[in-house]
């Protein structure tokens, strides 16, 4: 089977993430995760991401910064009997243990997968009976229940959804330019549909600001909070 997804291909001599690299270093040092020598491990981590060319990868850099921060915290003076002192490594240790446990499951899954890969299923498959022959079992209540699910899914206002949809500023710029090609001036509603989604509104807004910055148009409002209008910039037209 041809493989098209790079991320799926086995990375033989690569680490699957900063935790993987960290765990490997700890194993090489033959120290316990629960008592990881932060200073030494941090130094090796930095060396290793440099030599592996991972120094650009944000996830590795983030981990490097975290290690250095913990190292610094470990150096702060403290009294042995100090109460309420929390080991600065605690969170990292927890994550490492969790990650190591997951790697154990991975080993198990890998064995299962290898076993399964070593057997073939039936290769020749007769054509399945045409499913259209069977009538569809559908009812209106079922459809309405689906509508209800969709509504409940979308009716909750979520500001986070705004960022999940990439803005299309270039598309909006094209629309505005097209309007100004046909007319000398336009209004907000000429370029934004009444039922526009937040991302569309934002796209147009950014596009208008960008075109104004470039001097391609002038933005104005006839009164405070009035509709935004725009017109071809006379200067740029002359140019």
């Amino acid at each position: 089977m041809p493989e098209t997804h790079g991320s799926f291909v086995v990375e033989l001599d690569q680490f699957s993430g900063p935790l993987d690299l960290l765990l490997t270093l700890i194993r090489e040092e033959q120290v316990a995760i629960t008592d990881v020598p932060i200073a030494r491990i941090a130094e090796q981590f930095l060396q290793r991401i440099h030599s592996l060319g991972l120094g650009e990868a944000a996830e590795y850099l983030e981990m490097a910064a975290r290690l250095l921060r913990i190292k610094a915290q470990m150096l702060l003076p403290r009294r042995e009997d100090e109460e309420g002192w929390e080991d600065p490594r605690a969170e990292l240790i927890r994550r490492l243990l969790e990650y190591q446990q997951m790697r154990e499951v991975v080993d198990h899954l890998e064995r299962l997968r290898e076993e399964r890969r070593g057997r073939f299923a039936r290769g020749y498959l007769p054509a399945e009976p045409v499913p259209q022959a069977a009538p569809l079992a559908l009812s209106l209540p079922e459809l309405l229940a689906a509508v209800d699910r969709v509504l409940r899914l979308t009716s909750t206002p979520t500001m986070h959804d705004v960022v999940s949809r990439p803005l299309d500023v270039d598309g909006a710029i094209a629309v505005i330019r097209a309007v100004l090609m046909a007319r000398a001036a336009g209004r907000w509603l000429d370029v934004v549909a009444r039922d526009a989604e937040p991302w569309q509104v934002l796209s147009v807004l950014l596009a208008l600001l960008e075109l104004a910055r470039r001097g391609e148009l002038k933005l104005y409002q006839s009164r405070p909070f009035g509709p935004v209008e725009f017109s071809r910039d006379a200067a740029s037209e002359a140019a």
Binding site: Y124, P129, A137, L140, P141, E142, L143, L144, A146, T154
Partner: protein
């Protein structure tokens, strides 16, 4: 069965097409053509006399294991019976979005559902429940989908306006016709 006959059985089972004798020879370099012919014969006899649901046939210049024809009808019937042609919850949701927002493009549906719906649209198109009703004016002029007469028929609707409005929906759902 002999090891060679077992190997042939595994290989013919795994192959997606009839396998010519020369290719079967590649399975075991030490096997003579005579040994190969004997092992094939052994496999055929096993299937024919041991009381199996499959048989070894020579077809299209090669060898293939096929289910016995007397079972095909029962198998097809069982496949249809056991796979009721219901739409998945995801397909129903996609259909619901199209019914209420038509004409609507794929990107907008995916925006609402939060996942890709390419395969789902194909299923609904094949089922005749939706159809391409136009193209959007937007970038790339994406296809727009709408519901069909098959859709109305399927849900025993005279026209789309018979679908409850969104604000009536809660009531319609509460009227006891809820699916399990």
């Amino acid at each position: 069965m002999t090891p060679l006959a077992k190997l042939l059985e595994a290989a013919l089972f795994a192959s997606g097409r009839p396998v010519p004798l020369e290719e079967l020879a590649a399975l075991d370099r030490d096997a003579t053509p005579a040994a190969l012919a004997m092992a094939l014969d052994e496999l055929r006899t096993e299937y024919d006399t041991g009381g199996h649901g499959v048989e070894l046939v020579e077809i299209g210049g090669g060898w293939q294991i096929l289910t016995r024809p007397e079972f095909t009808e029962a198998i097809e019937r069982a496949q249809l019976a056991a796979r009721p042609q219901r739409l998945s919850a995801a397909a129903l949701e996609t259909l619901a979005i199209i019914a209420y927002r038509q004409p609507i493009g794929r990107a907008e549906i995916e925006d609402i559902r939060g996942v890709g719906v390419g395969g789902m649209l194909k299923t609904l198109l094949e089922r005749g429940l939706i159809d391409v009703v136009g193209r959007s004016e937007g970038l790339g002029r994406p296809l727009l989908y709408g519901t069909t007469s098959v859709f109305l028929e399927q849900f025993a609707l005279r026209h789309l306006e018979e679908l409850p409005r969104a604000d009536e929906l809660a009531i319609a759902l509460r009227s006891g016709s809820h699916p399990e």
